[in-house]
């Protein structure tokens, strides 16, 4: 990966960002309401289909198979998109993707683009790159519009403005819309219907004059060259069909082999994300079609750390993700800390495993993300493609603490153990030493028991951070080994059988 994309520079590590967020009572209220509502609705939508477990297994296997043969399917996709009249571009990193898109927009002679909500373009910070080239990018998803007008950052994969309540949104619209185009109507209230209407009027002007649309894609079908965008509002349909040129930036992991594979994901994605049987609009297109939709279609295939993630046999399962965000809504850590604390466009449990793999663990925030979890396992339970997020979290923690061989920018490099984990490593070394010396362990345990009344409530020195948010476990009055010896050591016939 290029050295230029460092995610969100200057962001504090997760613990300090989260500490601030949990003291924001409005934010916590907005988040609790949203995550609990969607959690309950999702459970109901999933319960409607009796074969959820089988669909989940099929989704997992389709994605795993595709990832294991990604080179084959990428080449196949390129052939089929090209045959259907599209042009395929390859971008190794964010810089290259931004250069390609900027160049394509410039060739059209236009200075503005309308955008469908897309995680990939947020990841590469395309809007900023276009702005630097004098091209205005307008977000057209309602939530993305709220974020853009509020000069804010998205905090959720599915509902990026989940951290804002209606009053805050009204104020942003009333204050900012005029600077971006059609102002908000006089007397704008904070009813959701009124706010949606203001967005409709504001954006319709942009849709009707737009010559260039930019999107991502939920799926790409290798066999047919078809791209799929799943949405609700119709802003996606506007951007995908009204402009003359369409540019789609899509991560290379979004491939499925066959048209038929969509039958799995079009059942699991809507139910897992918005808790609907089906989202209001799904658009599929294959290259270009005469007189219907854009005359030019460009597909930018984005690596940006994905091949590095693929090289990790444990971590590669994160690339199965279909961005449904179910894991965010069940996560007790996300619910309290909010999406911004993750310092990444991918927040929540999936972000905690995806970001440190896409970006590496060199920065403080990325090294802290594998710890942004209680390992409760709820994220794994709800994942429609069965990503074992806790397994990857533990794997990444080990990498942060111990270092070791990883792939960065396509090359094998040896990571040094991260700073700040010296105490953890020292404790593990000490434990290893003690556990291999029974005599020393016994002496230590007895000593600990006898001095238990003198133990502090919090740990001193580097242990302070750990005990700052936890109660120290009490030391028992008698070590287990002593208790065993005293009560039935050596006398229990059943216990020694065999």
């Amino acid at each position: 990966m290029s050295g230029t994309f460092v995610g969100m520079p200057g962001f504090p590590a997760f613990p300090s960002a989260a500490r601030e967020a949990v003291h924001d009572t409005t934010l916590r209220g907005n988040l609790r309401h949203a995550t609990h509502t969607i959690r309950a609705k999702r459970a109901k939508a999933v319960a409607e289909v009796s074969d959820w477990a089988e669909l989940r297994e099929a989704g997992k296997r389709i994605k795993d198979h595709t990832l294991r043969h990604l080179d084959h399917y990428l080449v196949r996709l390129e052939e089929s998109v090209t045959a259907a009249g599209g042009t395929v571009h390859w971008a190794a990193d964010a810089d290259e993707a931004n250069r390609i898109v900027t160049g394509l927009v410039r060739e059209t002679g236009e200075s503005e683009v309308v955008k469908v909500k897309s995680m990939a373009t947020q990841e590469i910070e395309l809007n900023e790159a276009l702005e630097a080239a004098g091209i205005h990018a307008y977000e057209t998803d309602l939530a993305e519009l709220i974020v853009q007008l509020g000069r804010d950052r998205p905090s959720h994969i599915l509902v990026p403005a989940i951290h804002r309540n209606r009053g805050e949104i009204r104020d942003i619209f009333a204050r900012e819309m005029g600077d971006w185009g059609r102002p908000a109507p006089e007397g704008l209230t904070d009813t959701p219907a009124g706010l949606a209407e203001a967005a409709r009027l504001h954006l319709r002007e942009k849709f009707l004059r737009a010559k260039v649309g930019v999107s991502g894609a939920n799926f790409m079908v290798a066999e047919t060259g078809t791209l799929v965008v799943v949405e609700s509002e119709g802003n996606g349909r506007m951007c995908l069909t009204l402009p003359e040129t369409l540019i789609s930036v899509v991560g290379i992991e979004k491939i499925v082999p066959t048209w038929r594979d969509l039958e799995v994901f079009l059942q699991t994605l809507p139910r897992s994300s918005t808790a609907e049987r089906m989202n209001p609009y799904t658009s599929t297109w294959t290259g270009t079609t005469d007189a219907d939709g854009p005359r030019a279609f460009h597909l930018v295939l984005l690596d940006n750390g994905r091949t590095d993630t693929l090289a990790d046999e444990v971590g590669r399962q994160a690339l199965r993700c279909i961005r449904c965000s179910a894991c965010l809504n069940v996560c007790p850590v996300y619910e309290r800390a909010g999406g911004h604390a993750y310092g990444s466009v991918y927040p929540g449990p999936i972000g905690a495993i995806l970001s440190p793999q896409l970006r590496g663990t060199a920065s403080e925030i990325d090294a802290s993300l594998p710890y942004a979890s209680s390992l409760c396992g709820a994220c794994y339970e709800v994942c429609p493609v069965a990503i074992d997020i806790p397994e990857v979290l533990v794997h990444l923690r080990e990498r942060v603490v111990e270092g070791g061989e990883v792939t960065r920018g396509g090359n094998k490099v040896v990571l040094r153990p991260a700073k700040g984990h010296a105490a953890e490593r020292a404790a593990m070394r000490a434990a290893r030493w003690a556990f291999t010396r029974p005599g020393a362990l016994r002496t230590g345990q007895r000593l600990a028991s006898r001095t238990r009344r003198l133990h502090p409530r919090t740990l001193p020195g580097p242990g302070r951070a750990w005990s700052g948010t936890r109660d120290l476990p009490p030391v028992p009055a008698e070590p287990f080994r002593d208790w065993w010896q005293r009560t039935r050591g050596g006398n229990d016939v059943k216990g020694t059988a065999g």
Binding site: S50, H65, G234
Partner: protein, 212 residues
């Protein structure tokens, strides 16, 4: 080296652990899920479609072939529509009872012109009962994708033979080389405190006429 070669090279190196004779696609993907959820007669499938469409706030009307023209005329009139977009291959008989000004679906018409039209009437390619979805594939009786997007009122006619029980059946019937639009209820958003609001950018009113 081009980025294409660089990325493909990285993928191949990353997959060094995958054996050459890895399980092929057909066997790697278990399809033990159901083709459809439950067994239904044709009539029951139609009922389920109507129920699920209505659940997502589409307005559902039921009629037979003889009543269709009257139903369509009545809907346009109730809406107060003064103009209606008509795809080139729409069955003439469907609009026989209405006097509303017809606007042809032409390649040259600008989005602004479409924005001035009140309603649009189309057929569909497939309808999915389990999810309450209609699918348009741009055939002559459905027209370009944008005509069902820009006007605020969409009337879609679904014939019994076009109804399938589930998503797997729908995909089987559709041609991926055509541009497809799957519609489940009218345009909607839940971005503000997860309160569902109908009608953001697409038509705010979707009326589905089930025939048969």
């Amino acid at each position: 080296m081009s980025s294409r070669e660089r990325i493909l090279g990285r993928v191949r190196r990353a997959l060094a652990d995958v054996p050459k004779d890895d399980t092929p696609y057909e066997r790697a993907v278990a399809r033990e899920y159901l083709r459809e959820h439950g067994q239904r007669t044709v009539a029951e499938t139609m009922d389920l479609l109507a129920e699920n469409l209505a659940d997502y706030r589409a307005i559902v009307h039921r009629t037979d072939a003889a009543g269709l023209a009257g139903t369509v005329a009545g809907l346009l009139s109730a809406r107060g529509a003064s103009s209606v977009l008509v795809p080139p291959g729409l069955d003439e008989a469907w609009l026989a009872r209405t006097g509303v000004t017809r606007v042809a679906d032409r390649a040259e018409s600008t989005p602004r012109e479409l924005d001035r039209v009140d309603s649009v009437v189309t057929a569909c390619a497939v309808a999915v009962a389990e999810t309450g979805t209609i699918v348009l594939d741009g055939s002559p009786d459905q027209g370009r994708r944008r005509i069902t997007l820009v006007p605020d009122h969409h009337i879609c006619v679904v014939r019994a033979a076009q109804v399938v029980p589930s998503v797997p059946y729908a995909l089987e019937r559709l041609d991926p080389s055509r541009p497809l639009t799957w519609i489940s209820g009218p345009s909607a958003t839940s971005d503000i405190e997860l309160d569902r609001v109908e009608g953001v950018h697409g038509p705010r009113t979707l009326e589905v006429v089930l025939v048969g």
